[in-house]
């Protein structure tokens, strides 16, 4: 479905953000990506979305090599990034403006129901809570019926309760729409709660350190997965700091 074929990215500044990322994401799967700050998670997602071009390697979605934003790939950013001058309904329908009005309205209504915000269509983004706004952002990505949705730390700004609700929403949306999802997160529990598989990245340069199975037949109980994930994460960070000491690179200053 989605193939990352040796994706590498070196910024013009010389920072090597990604080196040789190989991943094969299955249709309908949720892949969680975890890793320390600055290990290239955002860069990787932006390459998949066609917002950046890999320096080497390629991203293939459904047979198409991605070199610019692609209709099959949706994006949910860390902040909702709603357009303040459009109502909730207008924001959700932003990407399907060229559909006939009746169909557009019907799809927006279905999305509102799906994200549990029926009746909110006429509100302005200002009038939403952070969790509601992020739901709208998810609906805006989903309504265009992409095959993959990329999430870049989508819930990191939300409180724990809201976050759990949105985890449930994401799982439900995947079940009901079968959309493939890649979710970058800093949060071990989030990765365990959502990931069918969990990729742990190591920094300097970003590479896949471990690829774990999520809870289930292969991965076992959530607690066991969590344990393995924490161990892997610690290992990846140790690996990264050893390398960055050696390279004493200028990386990590960007944010």
């Amino acid at each position: 479905m989605l193939i990352l074929d040796h994706v590498s990215k070196t910024w013009p500044s010389g920072t090597e953000a990604l080196r040789g990322i190989d991943l094969d994401v299955q249709e309908g799967e949720i892949l969680a990506i975890v890793g320390g700050s600055g290990c290239g998670k955002t860069t990787l997602l932006r390459c998949i979305a066609g917002l950046e071009t890999p320096s080497r390697g390629r991203v293939v979605v459904d047979g198409d090599v991605i070199d610019s934003p692609h209709p099959a790939v949706g994006f949910v950013f860390q902040e909702p990034r709603l357009l303040p001058w459009l109502t909730v309904a207008g924001n959700i329908g932003f990407g399907i403006a060229d559909l006939p009005k009746a169909e557009r309205t019907a799809r927006i209504d279905r999305m509102l129901a799906l994200i549990g915000l029926s009746g909110y269509g006429g509100r302005w983004p200002k009038e939403l809570s952070g969790g509601q706004a992020q739901r709208v952002a998810i609906a805006r990505a989903l309504i265009a019926k992409p095959q993959v949705i990329l999430f870049d730390e989508p819930f990191s700004a939300l409180d724990a309760v809201t976050r759990r609700q949105l985890h449930a929403l994401v799982r439900r949306l995947r079940k009901e729409t079968g959309t493939t999802m890649i979710i970058v997160t800093h949060d071990v529990d989030e990765a365990v709660a959502l990931g069918d598989r969990i990729a742990v990245l190591q920094p300097h340069p970003g590479r896949v350190y471990r690829l774990l199975d999520g809870p289930g037949a292969k991965g076992g109980a959530p607690e066991a997965v969590r344990q393995r994930l924490v161990t892997a994460l610690d290992g990846s960070l140790a690996e990264g700091s050893a390398r960055s000491d050696a390279a004493s690179s200028s990386a990590g200053l960007w944010w």
Partner: protein, 272 residues
């Protein structure tokens, strides 16, 4: 799902009644001052020959309105302001959009425009008269010059400060350049654009006075000069009052026109 479309219903519900009509407190001070002054004038404390009482100014206004002079001169002034505004705002919008969107254009044009801006605009008057004659063209050119700069600066600043993260939303949905401009840039800069246009209009009124004082046979500015030459302070004050009212009305009309487009700004933010 209900028969009535959810979004449509919601849109109908969401339109809250316009802001509650409150007593315009701002009128209190000028009214009180007028009454006080009228009282002092009636009591003979001020020299009515130089500073006529409000009642005299009002009578003068009524007279000018009755014989059609007020309408005639107001129309002349308004026409000049609006022509100059149209030209200046159009040029300012284009130049601002260009320098705002293209760093190259900005490096090329902005220093020159900023240097021109530093020249007090009235300094252009002799040149405009030399080039364009003493009639309408030079006046409109002067007003357009005054309107140009606030609009130019406003548009350039607004475009430069558009949140790049929101532009990226447009990229994700593969908007063309035109669609990006129409669906993201334009609405994003609209609030600042309206402010720029309104301050441009304000300068337009400033410059129309200058233009009409430097020589005109009609317009509110002509009434000023005429009143001075004939020693009719009531007429001067009447013209000033007319300027204030027309300026305020035009600004109010602009705000009112923009209001439906900016309704989203009035919404209360959710829990901070």
């Amino acid at each position: 799902m209900s028969a009535v479309s959810e979004t449509h219903k919601a849109v109908l519900e969401a339109r809250r009644p316009a802001v509650r009509r409150r007593w315009p407190l701002g009128l209190l001070l000028p009214l009180a001052a007028t009454l006080l002054y009228e009282g002092l004038a009636q009591a003979g404390f001020v020299e009515a020959r130089l500073l006529p009482a409000p009642s005299a100014v009002f009578a003068e206004l009524k007279k000018l309105a009755a014989n059609g002079d007020l309408l005639y001169h107001t129309t002349a002034t308004l026409w000049r302001v609006l022509s100059g505004f149209a030209l200046g705002a159009l040029a300012g919008t284009f130049a601002g959009a260009l320098t705002g969107a293209s760093p190259l254009a900005r490096r090329l044009l902005d220093p020159t425009l900023q240097a021109l801006r530093a020249i007090p605009s009235l300094a252009w008057v002799p040149l405009f008269i030399l080039w364009l004659g003493i009639f309408e063209a030079s006046k409109v050119a002067l007003i357009a010059t005054g309107v140009f700069f606030p609009v130019y600066l406003g548009v350039m600043g607004a475009i430069r400060s558009v949140d790049r993260r929101i532009v990226e939303v447009g990229r994700i949905f593969r908007l063309s350049r035109v669609a990006l401009a129409a669906r993201i840039l334009l609405p994003a800069i609209l609030p600042e654009y309206v402010i720029a246009l309104r301050s441009g209009m304000g300068l337009g009124f400033m410059f129309v006075v200058a233009a009409e004082i430097m020589g005109a046979s009609e317009g509110l500015g002509y009434l000023l000069v005429d009143g001075q030459q004939l020693g009719k302070p009531a007429q001067i004050l009447a013209a000033i009052v007319a300027f204030a009212i027309v300026g305020k009305l035009v600004d109010g009309a602009m705000a009112l026109l923009a209001r439906p487009l900016l309704a989203w700004q009035d919404a209360e933010a959710a829990n901070g």
